[in-house]
C-alpha cells in the first residue's frame, strides 16, 4: 500500500498522521486555526504528490436510510442524485450508499443518503491542500470507516445468514424482523471520540444511522451515567425513525481503547433490552495492529488507522474532485502501461529476432546442401563431358522426339486406301488428301469420288457409299460421310431428271477419315536405322 497522509477533522481540530509501510506514524494534533493549517501546509510541502485521505467526525452530519426501487446503472444514478439534491442541497459533500435489499416485505433496496452539512468545517483544510496542489484522495464520515470494525471483530452477521434473508424474499416468505430470532443483528457501536460519544447503528451489518453526542454536560464523578443516557437517547431516536422496533433487543458494542468503560455494561441491563459487549484495549490493539503507545498518545489513532484503509464507497468527494482523481489515476496508470508495452514489445522483438536468426541459419544450411547437391550433379555430369554438353544433348534428344511425333508414312496409307477402292468397281476415287499427325491428333484423310451406274436410284448409290464406309471402318478408320450422292436435307430444294442417258450420270460424294486408335510404326522416311531404334513411334493407320 502506497504512502499516504491521513487527516482526521473534528470541531476540536484535526489529527494528522502519515501511513507508510503499512503502519501509522507521526500522529500530530493540529488546532483548527492558522497554526494547524500552517503545519498541514508544511507537511504537504515536504510530501509532494502524496495523496491525502480525510475523515470527518462532527455533529453536522446527515443520514437518511430509504428504500427505493431496485434499479441499476444510469437510472440508479439519476434516481439517487435527484433524491440527494432534495435532501442535501446545502453542501457539496454528499454521497449515497446502495445497501442490502429491503427486509420488511417491500420491493426495493436500502439506500443510505449521507452528507456533511457544515462544509465550512472542512473548508480551510481543503483550501490548504488546494494551495499546495495536494491530491485529495477522499473524504469519509467516521461511521463509514467504522464498518471495517464489524468485519475485523466479527460483529456483523455472517454472510450465510444474510443470504438466507435473500432466499426468503425470493420464496415470498416474510422475514421475521423485530423478533428475538435476529438478536444481535441490530448493533449500536459506541466509540469515544475527540468531539464526544459516537453512536453508530448497523442493521444486519449495514450502516443506517449515526450521531455524535457532545459531552459538555458530562459530570466528572460519573461519566458513564452520561454515556448510558446518550445510548438510551439514541435508542429512542432509532425507535422514532422506525429503524428499530419497540421491544426489540439492541446489541451495544463499546470500543474501550483505554479500558475505562467496563462499568457501562452494568448500566445497560439485559432485561431492559440491551445486549452489551466491550472490545477492550488488548483486543483492539491486536485487531487493528496498532502500537500501544500510539493508541495511548492519541484518541484519534483508532480512527486514523481505519482511514488508512477506507471502503470503496462512501467517499464524500465532490464530482469535480473525483474527476481530477480519475484523471490522476489515469495519468499514473498510463506511464506504467506504456513501459509495460515497451517491455512487451522489446520482448516480442527479441523473440522475433531470435527466430529470424534461427531462420537465417536454417537458410544457410539449406543453401550449403543445395550447393553440395549441385556440386555432386556437376561431378556426375563432368564424367559425361560436362553439364552444358549433356544438357545440349538432352535438349536435342527432346527436340528429336518432338519431330518424331509428327512422322507418318503417307504412301502406305494412300496405297491401302486405293486397294479398298479397287474392290468396289462402282465407286471411283478422284481425289485424296492425307494430313500428317501432330502432337494433338492422328493422321486424317479426306477423299472425294463418284458413284457410277446406279441409274438414278440414289438409294442404291447411298448403300454403296455405306458399304465403302463400312470397309474403311474395318480397316481401322473412323469414317464420316461429309457429302452424300443426294443431299436430302428437308430445307433444300433438289431436282433431277431420269430417262434416256440421264440415269447413268455419276454422283459425287465425300468422306472424312480419322485414324481410330490403330497405332503402327511410321515408315522409314526421314530416319536412319540408329534413329529408329530410339524413337517413340508415330501414329498412323
Amino acid at each position: 500500500m502506497s504512502a499516504r497522509l491521513l487527516l482526521y477533522v473534528s470541531r476540536a481540530g484535526a489529527s494528522l498522521a502519515r501511513w507508510e509501510g503499512g503502519r501509522l506514524r507521526e500522529i500530530r494534533a493540529l488546532p483548527a486555526d492558522a497554526e494547524g493549517w500552517g503545519v498541514l501546509s508544511d507537511t504537504l510541502r515536504r510530501a509532494p504528490g502524496m495523496p491525502v485521505y480525510v475523515a470527518v467526525d462532527t455533529v453536522e452530519e446527515y443520514y437518511r436510510s430509504e428504500v427505493l426501487p431496485r434499479v441499476w446503472g444510469r437510472d440508479r444514478r439519476e434516481m439517487t442524485e435527484r433524491r440527494l439534491r432534495q435532501l442535501l442541497h446545502q453542501t457539496p459533500y454528499w454521497v449515497v450508499l446502495p445497501q442490502d435489499p429491503a427486509r420488511d416485505g417491500r420491493i426495493g433496496r436500502h439506500y443510505l443518503f449521507m452528507g456533511l452539512t457544515a462544509p465550512e468545517l472542512l473548508q480551510p483544510w481543503v483550501e490548504v491542500m488546494r494551495l499546495r496542489g495536494a491530491r485529495l484522495a477522499g473524504i469519509w464520515l467516521l461511521p463509514v470507516l467504522c464498518q471495517d470494525l464489524l468485519v475485523r471483530f466479527h460483529l456483523a452477521p455472517r454472510r450465510a445468514r444474510r443470504l438466507e434473508v435473500v432466499r426468503d424474499r425470493l420464496l415470498g416468505r416474510q422475514a421475521p424482523g423485530g423478533t428475538a430470532s435476529d438478536d444481535g443483528e441490530r448493533l449500536l457501536l459506541v466509540t469515544e471520540q475527540t468531539g464526544g460519544l459516537r453512536l453508530t447503528y448497523f442493521d444486519h451489518g449495514e450502516l443506517r444511522f449515526s450521531r455524535l453526542a457532545p459531552l459538555e454536560g458530562r459530570t466528572p464523578d460519573d461519566p458513564l451515567a452520561a454515556y448510558a443516557a446518550q445510548i438510551e437517547r439514541t435508542r429512542q431516536s432509532l425507535l422514532a425513525q422506525r429503524l428499530l422496533n419497540r421491544g426489540e433487543p439492541l446489541r451495544v458494542c463499546l470500543l474501550d481503547p483505554l479500558n475505562t468503560l467496563a462499568g457501562l455494561s452494568q448500566r445497560l441491563p439485559g432485561d431492559a433490552g440491551w445486549r452489551c459487549e466491550i472490545l477492550p484495549r488488548q483486543r483492539l490493539l491486536a485487531g487493528l495492529g496498532l502500537p500501544p503507545a500510539l493508541l495511548t498518545e492519541s484518541s484519534d489513532a483508532l480512527a486514523l488507522t481505519l482511514l488508512a484503509r477506507p471502503p470503496a464507497g462512501g467517499n464524500l468527494l465532490p464530482e469535480d474532485d473525483r474527476r481530477t482523481q480519475r484523471q490522476h489515476r489515469l495519468r499514473r496508470a498510463i506511464r506504467p502501461a506504456a513501459t509495460l508495452w515497451l517491455i512487451a514489445a522489446l520482448g516480442l522483438s527479441l523473440a522475433l529476432l531470435l527466430d529470424a536468426w534461427r531462420l537465417s541459419r536454417a537458410a544457410d544450411t539449406l543453401q550449403a546442401r543445395a550447393r553440395q547437391a549441385q556440386q555432386e550433379a556437376g561431378r556426375m555430369l563432368d564424367r559425361e563431358g560436362g553439364g552444358a554438353r549433356f544438357e545440349a544433348r538432352w535438349q536435342t534428344h527432346a527436340a528429336w522426339r518432338w519431330v518424331m511425333a509428327h512422322r507418318a508414312d503417307p504412301a502406305a496409307t494412300l496405297a491401302r486406301i486405293a486397294a479398298i477402292f479397287a474392290q468396289l468397281p462402282a465407286i471411283r476415287l478422284s481425289h485424296l488428301r492425307w494430313s500428317g499427325p501432330d502432337t494433338a491428333q492422328p493422321p486424317r484423310l479426306t477423299l472425294e469420288g463418284e458413284v457410277m451406274g446406279f441409274g438414278g436410284d440414289y438409294r442404291l448409290a447411298h448403300d454403296r457409299i455405306e458399304a465403302l464406309a463400312a470397309a474403311l471402318r474395318r480397316d481401322g478408320w473412323q469414317a464420316e460421310v461429309t457429302r452424300w450422292p443426294l443431299d436430302v436435307a428437308p430445307h433444300l430444294e433438289i431436282q433431277g431428271d431420269l430417262g434416256r442417258d440421264a440415269g447413268d450420270r455419276p454422283a459425287r460424294f465425300a468422306l472424312a477419315l480419322t485414324a481410330a486408335g490403330r497405332v503402327t510404326p511410321a515408315g522409314g522416311r526421314a530416319s536412319t536405322s540408329d534413329l529408329d531404334a530410339g524413337r517413340s513411334g508415330g501414329t498412323a493407320p
Partner: protein
C-alpha cells in the same frame, strides 16, 4: 495550458509507445525477410536434390543416344536451317529416280512450341506419281541424309489422268544451346 512536467510525461509515454512499435516493426520486417530467404533456400535445395536424384536415370537414358545424336548432327538437324542441302537433295532424288518433274517452294522458317526447334515447310508438286512412286521418292530423299523431314500433307489427284501428287514436307532444325552434342 499543460504544465511542462506533464508535457514531458506525455512525451515520454508517446516516446515509449513509438519505441515499442518501431522495435516490433523492425523485428517483424527482419523476421519476414529471414523467413522468405529460408523458403527460397529450401526451394533451391529441393530443386537441386530432385535434379540430383533424377540425374543418374537421365544419364543412363542419354548414353545410348550418343550415336543417334551424332547422326542427327551429321544430317544437319542441329544448327541453322540448311536450305541449300535440302534443295540439292531434292534435285538428286529427282535425277536418281528419273522423275518427270518436281516443282518446289520453300516457306520462310517458323519457330515451334519447343524452344530452339524450327521448321521450314516445303511444297512439292511431284507431277505424275503413284503411292509407290511417292514411297520410293521419300525413301531416297531421306537416304541422302541431308536433313530431317516429316510429311505434313499429301494431295493425290487421280482424275483427270495422269495422277498427280502434291505434298508438303516439314524440314526441321534445332538450335538449342549451340553446343554440339
Amino acid at each position: 495550458m499543460i504544465p511542462t512536467a506533464q508535457r514531458a510525461a506525455w512525451a515520454t509515454v508517446v516516446l515509449l509507445l513509438l519505441a515499442g512499435a518501431a522495435a516490433v516493426g523492425v523485428a517483424l520486417h527482419l523476421h519476414g525477410a529471414a523467413a522468405a530467404a529460408r523458403q527460397q533456400a529450401e526451394q533451391a535445395w529441393r530443386d537441386a536434390q530432385a535434379r540430383l536424384e533424377r540425374l543418374p536415370a537421365r544419364i543412363a537414358q542419354a548414353r545410348p543416344l550418343r550415336g543417334q545424336l551424332a547422326e542427327l548432327d551429321r544430317r544437319g538437324f542441329v544448327g541453322a536451317a540448311r536450305r541449300l542441302d535440302w534443295v540439292s537433295a531434292l534435285a538428286r532424288s529427282q535425277r536418281a529416280l528419273a522423275l518427270e518433274s518436281i516443282a518446289w517452294r520453300l516457306e520462310p522458317g517458323r519457330p515451334t512450341a519447343l524452344t530452339g526447334l524450327g521448321a521450314t515447310r516445303m511444297h512439292l508438286d511431284l507431277g505424275p506419281m503413284t503411292p509407290d512412286g511417292l514411297a520410293a521418292f521419300l525413301q531416297h530423299l531421306d537416304g541422302l541424309g541431308q536433313g530431317l523431314f516429316t510429311v505434313a500433307q499429301c494431295d493425290w489427284t487421280l482424275e483427270p489422268l495422269p495422277q498427280r501428287m502434291q505434298c508438303s514436307l516439314d524440314w526441321w532444325n534445332f538450335q538449342g544451346s549451340g553446343d554440339s552434342p
